[in-house]
Symmetry: C3
Subunit: 152 residues, 3 copies
């Protein structure tokens, strides 16, 4: 796997990172409307453990279903890279997503961490993700927090 | 919660991120004098679990009290956003702070993670935080590391 | 410990951060050839718990030996700072490295986190690390994942 290349302009690179970060604040803040500033209307997201999800409204509904029952979540993104190839502009970054349930039993946390691989479209409103593929590298904690039976 | 806007200049944005990072190196390196390059003299920090702390000297004393007994700490900051509104320049970022005690019992770690929400003043020496509000999203590990009775 | 200074140009700073990130993607993707775009041919890496490792080929061999047996790894880097002094260009950042073994027993994770302190050389191909010193601040999980007997 070679590093993405050739490099984008500093301004374009910054726009991609900003949108990648905007995604995190939007979902962790349960501001699912703000995902319209992240994805194209016909974007496809492949979370890996469910069928691909197509369309902004479907993505919003899916993320809301997973995160709304939680007491908190925090999606850290780091190690951003971007480039351009025959299929256009792409980027990848690492994510580490904490999912939190509080409760009288002391609560529980569940981390899912891995890679976001994104394909981008430039729209009149700015760069938007048209395809995101999530790759899980590791998990830690209690999977029951996000409704998955316990056990790694 | 909408994303902060309008965007700052790239140079100003970089200065804010740099100062946010400088805070982490300063406290993790126990170089509390360096906090003078982070906060205004009359800055207020709201850690949430204690009364607001006002003034650089008080902030330095408080952070020193919490961190000096530890064998190590590491404050990661990511997901930086900044903007400008009627009250001036603001930013927010995610933090994940590890607190470490070593010892013959094997030692223990305690993570506190959440959001720093900062208000900034431009001074002759550069951008300084005039107000920081810390919001805890999750914790993990042994709270006794920072002197809090065990239990989440 | 004072913050690195004076600041590099934005372009140089970006090149250093990019190479620091490239290291992570290279080793986590088991693309050890790509380390030629990170280190000088005669680079020295001090991991701390083994003798200093000198030369690109030796670094590649060492990292391959540690990481190839794992099912996954993820090296997050954040809090980047850089500067210039009498010995040239230097930088430091925080890292948090997850090491993952999967298996019928449920698998195990082992985090090693700390500081990368780097010295750089400008080559015709761009900035390369000529010296890296790794400082471990904390660990978490099962050290047997990387072949170290259990226990912190």
């Amino acid at each position: 796997m070679s590093p993405p290349s050739p490099a984008l302009s500093l301004e374009d690179e910054r726009s991609l990172v900003d949108a990648t970060i905007r995604y995190c604040w939007a979902i962790d803040g349960r501001d699912f409307d703000a995902l319209a500033d992240v994805f194209t209307d016909d974007a496809v997201v492949q979370y890996g453990f469910v069928d691909p999800i197509q369309g902004l409204a479907e993505i919003q509904a899916y993320v809301a279903k997973i995160l709304t029952p939680l007491d908190a979540s925090q999606h850290l993104v780091t190690n951003h890279q971007s480039g351009r190839d025959a299929d256009g502009v792409h980027s990848r970054c690492y994510f580490q997503a904490q999912h939190v349930r509080k409760g009288s039993d002391g609560g529980a946390n569940y981390i899912v961490a891995g890679i976001y691989r994104d394909r981008w479209s430039e729209t009149p409103a700015g760069w938007r993700i048209r395809e995101r593929v999530l790759e899980v590298l590791w998990t830690e904690g209690n999977a029951a927090v996000i409704g998955v039976p316990s056990g790694r």
